[in-house]
């Protein structure tokens, strides 16, 4: 017992530094898959308690088992019960069922574990490989190798964290720069940029020309920060070296915490701290406007499953089963309001569900209407509303029976809804419907073309027209002009006379053509977006202000995935909400149709990219409260809203009171700033990262009175993160020598 090996003891304490990491990482992993948030501390306490008790029974102790946890999760386990069942079953098997278990072929377990391995692997990290910064790739590969070859997960993570931290320090160290000039009085100024810390002191020292400098120099830390003892020591040594030459050093613009650091080190450092004389000029004589705007730069690496949206509610019915064909339980989504309350209308294999989404207290299903066709053959349902009624159709049914147009009266919500019309006299099956409120017409699309009904009396539809030139998949209609998506082409047809549609435009061949699927018109009616339900085809943005000049002006695709399929697009004014299989809900600002900008997204799950009919089906963004509803075919209804502080689309970041608008947020490639000046002013725009380091000056010049719309290209040079934009108006800036 005396011969404890000191070396190994040391190593052991080394590893102990990362204590608990593995269990917490497993928890993290589980959280990512289930989109929940585990309680790491609770887990630690529980595990500690379990281990303590185990010790008294002669057990060997344990921790989180990643493999078993993953199998558990992939089989749908979500709550405590599964863990309890697992342990009780294990006990039962060990006590009484051991002979049975011992008969299980190893092959079955090996196959299972191979599938677990495939499922565990982060394939996205391979896809994004060449898009990741090089140090990140290095870290990722290194952690992988240590894990594989040393079988020490905690060590691997520790190594990864240390290297990441060093890379970060190295990158920050490179940021230190000095701007030098000599003023009229012969004093040399050094303006330091970037943080001064242990990593950057060497470069910092190299900036100074002690021999050649005049007798008095000023070091300005306005754009820098003295962060640690190494930095203080560097400053100290520097002043000493100047002192030896008989030269005087002033430090200027030290922040309060820098001063505190220096005064803590009073004994070892002797420096002359100088206040900037221009710093105290009364603000009243100048016009200083300082605006800090937090904005996001989006990048290519997928790091989170949502941006600018947060989840309010999620709803699904556990007992409902998905369609036999595609395993989609849910389909179309729509939204309605009644008596000041808001409801989601969502279709399922069962029928139509009405869910109160007004507030958390009342959230939940208030009523459901069974579809005329209601079983696991149902894939498609579609909804629109008109004058207090929901119109519901379904595209599945038996030859002569069972699928109808249902009209549902929802005026009595929140109590219940009532079916007031339910026949197949005009519509037996329909893939999609659209209601043109301007002329009170309902258009039902199907393989037959279009059936046009008048719903002037909302509960007594009347047949008024037919279009049978081609089978229609989906459509958008405004003021009798219908945009038809027909799979093989897209047509614009004028239905002023519903019996004789007049074709205004047909789009047959176009780049990235797939199955022409769905489309929507923007608020002004000059931009039309359509989707092709085919892998690798982007969403098309078309200019339709003049149909003789119909043109696809740009294409939209979320940056992350090359293989996502856009399903449906819905446009509210100038914001396009696009539901993607596999890629969740993606939201784009199309106010400039030629360069759409992504302003947010929400992804409720990772699906096999090759599987069809998995993921988001549709979206409804028109609720007065601004809440957004979307349907996930497997996971049900999601109610989300833009995160605090972010306002989507044509609305700007709420700093208008200062005459400044900054959009979009987050920015992708381009930042727009619009500024209204009351008089001619000097204007300075600077971008800082969260460490407070200035990374770019966007603009520094006098602007004339009036409104200015400024654009700045960001390209791909910035990593995705939060940045600060500082706008200073009216402060006189010194001219620098270089």
């Amino acid at each position: 017992m005396e011969d404890l090996n000191h070396y190994s003891t040391l190593c052991i304490y080394c590893f102990a530094g990362v204590g608990l990491i593995e269990s917490l990482l497993t928890l993290n992993l589980v959280d990512e898959i289930t989109e929940t948030r585990g309680w790491g501390n609770k887990e630690a306490v529980a595990q500690g308690l379990a281990n303590t008790v185990t010790g008294f029974f002669g057990g060997m102790g344990g921790c989180a088992m990643i493999g078993q946890s993953l199998i558990n999760i992939s089989n749908g386990a979500r709550a405590r019960l599964s863990g309890i069942v697992a342990s009780i079953m294990l006990l039962v098997f060990v006590m009484y069922g051991s002979e049975l278990i011992e008969q299980v072929p190893i092959a079955a377990l090996a196959g299972l574990m191979v599938m677990v391995a495939i499922g565990t692997f982060e394939w996205v990290s391979v896809r994004a490989f060449n898009k990741m910064p090089k140090p990140d790739i290095l870290v990722m590969v290194l952690v992988t190798l240590v894990t594989v070859f040393m079988h020490n997960l905690a060590l691997a993570v520790l190594v990864g964290v240390i290297i990441s931290a060093l890379v970060f320090a190295w990158e920050s160290a490179k940021r230190i720069r000095a701007r030098k000039y000599v003023d009229d009085e012969g004093v040399k100024h050094y303006e330091i940029f970037g943080p001064l810390f242990f990593g950057s002191t060497t470069v910092f020292n190299e900036k100074f020309d002690i021999q050649g400098d005049p007798d008095e120099i000023i070091i300005d830390f306005k754009e820098s920060k003295i962060t640690d003892m190494s930095a203080i020591d560097a400053v100290n040594k520097l002043t000493e070296r100047y002192a030896k030459q008989g030269k005087k050093v002033h430090l200027r613009h030290l922040s309060k915490d820098c001063l505190r650091l220096l005064s803590n080190a009073d004994a070892m450092i002797d420096i002359n701290v100088l206040e900037d004389p221009t710093y105290k000029i009364p603000v009243a004589t100048k016009y200083i406007l300082l605006i800090l705007v937090l904005f996001l730069v989006q990048g290519a690496v997928k790091s989170q499953s949502a941006e600018n949206f947060k989840l309010l509610h999620h709803w699904k019915v556990d007992s409902l089963q998905g369609s036999f064909l595609y395993d989609n339980t849910y389909n179309e989504i729509w939204g309605i309001t009644n008596k000041g309350r808001e409801y989601a209308v969502i279709g399922s294999t069962y029928g139509t569900h009405f869910i109160d989404v007004t507030d958390p207290a009342s959230f939940g299903e208030v009523d459901a209407v069974q579809g005329a066709f209601s079983n696991r053959l149902v894939v498609h349902r579609d909804y629109k509303d008109y004058k207090g009624y929901i119109y519901a159709v379904c595209d599945e049914g038996f030859v002569n029976d069972n699928s109808t147009l249902q009209i549902i009266d929802y005026a009595t919500l929140p109590d219940s809804v009532h079916v007031v019309y339910d026949t197949s006299e005009y519509i037996r099956k329909s893939h999609n419907i659209f209601i043109d409120t301007s002329s009170a017409r309902l258009y039902a699309a199907g393989s037959y073309g279009l059936v046009i009904l008048s719903i002037e009396d909302p509960i007594k539809p009347k047949f008024i027209g037919l279009y049978s030139d081609i089978g229609v998949h989906d459509l958008y209609v405004r003021r009798d002009t219908a945009y038809l998506n027909n799979g093989e082409d897209m047509r614009i047809v004028d239905f002023t006379d519903p019996m004789n549609g007049k074709q205004l435009y047909i789009l047959k061949d176009y780049p990235e053509k797939g199955y022409n699927h769905n489309g929507w018109l923007n608020g002004k009616g000059d931009t039309y977006l359509f989707t092709d339900e085919t892998k690798g085809t982007r969403v098309k943005v078309c200019s339709v202000s003049d149909l003789s000049n119909f043109e696809i002006v740009s294409y939209i695709q979320p940056k992350y995935s090359d293989s996502s399929i856009a399903h449906n697009v819905v446009i509210k004014e100038d914001v396009a909400y696009i539901s993607y299989y596999n890629d969740g809900l993606q939201v784009f600002d199309i106010s400039n149709p030629k360069s759409p900008v992504r302003v947010g997204y929400y992804n409720s799950g990772n699906y096999d990219t090759f599987a069809p009919y998995m993921g988001v089906w549709g979206v409804y963004p028109f609720l007065p409260s601004g809440k957004i509803l979307y349907s996930n075919m497997q996971k049900g209804l999601y109610v989300i809203e833009p995160s605090r502080g972010y306002v989507l689309g044509t609305e700007k970041i709420p700093v208008q009171t200062f005459g400044v608008e900054v959009y979009p947020n987050p920015i992708q490639d381009q930042l727009n700033v619009s500024l209204n000046l009351e008089q001619n002013k000097e204007v300075l725009f600077e971008v800082f990262n969260l460490q407070g380091i200035k990374i770019r000056t966007l603009l520094s010049k006098p602007l004339t009175k009036g409104k200015h719309d400024l654009q700045f290209d960001f390209g791909n040079e910035y990593s995705p993160s939060l940045y600060l934009l500082q706008i200073i108006v009216g402060e006189k800036r010194k001219k620098f020598l270089n």
Partner: protein, 179 residues
């Protein structure tokens, strides 16, 4: 999340037992448990936020590879004459690979048909049934180890409760912690 006795913990515990004797295991496990609880109460769990995404990716990918590679054990068998582990050959190898492929196919395919039944359980039952009904000769869990056991009894470790003891068990307790 499922917790249990993992291989990594076993390695630490076995080396302790070998060096100092089995009675120290109990004290180590109890101490590790107490430290874990302390970490929980001190809210050290949030330290996990310092782990960057690439590290998380690397960790998960490494883990997947380890899980995958460790399945090669199922293709090994013990040579009766030499006692060494060696790869299966001929028919037993193909039976093993075939059953593994069948398991994977069921786990991959079943969720596309129904989600009412856990695919992995179904796969195990099907392969189990197939082997039992057709009397296929392949390695089973029992060939690897016996899992039979009984209820443990309560015992307080009989140790000298001194500082010296603590210095012995503490490092091992820390290792258990990190697992």
């Amino acid at each position: 999340m499922i917790s249990g006795a993992t291989g990594a913990v076993a390695i630490v515990i076995v080396s302790l037992a070998k060096d100092f004797g089995p009675e120290y295991i109990f004290a180590t496990v109890v101490l590790a448990g107490l430290i874990q609880m302390a970490a929980g109460f001190l809210k050290l769990g949030k330290l996990i936020r310092l782990v960057p995404q690439p590290v998380m990716f690397g960790f998960v990918n490494g883990l997947a590879i380890v899980i995958f590679l460790s399945q090669k054990d199922s293709l090994m068998t013990k040579n009766i004459t030499t006692g060494a582990m060696e790869f299966l050959q001929g028919t037993p190898l193909f039976i093993m690979l075939g059953l593994v492929a069948l398991t994977m196919l069921i786990i991959w395919g079943l969720p596309k048909l129904t989600k009412a039944f856990p695919a992995s359980l179904a796969a195990i039952l099907v392969v189990f049934g197939l082997v039992a009904v057709l009397g296929i000769d392949t390695t089973t869990v029992g060939d690897m180890a016996s899992i039979k056991g009984g209820f443990p009894e309560f015992s307080i470790p009989d140790l000298p409760y001194t500082w010296k003891t603590l210095t012995i068990i503490a490092p091992y307790a820390f290792i258990v912690l990190q697992e």
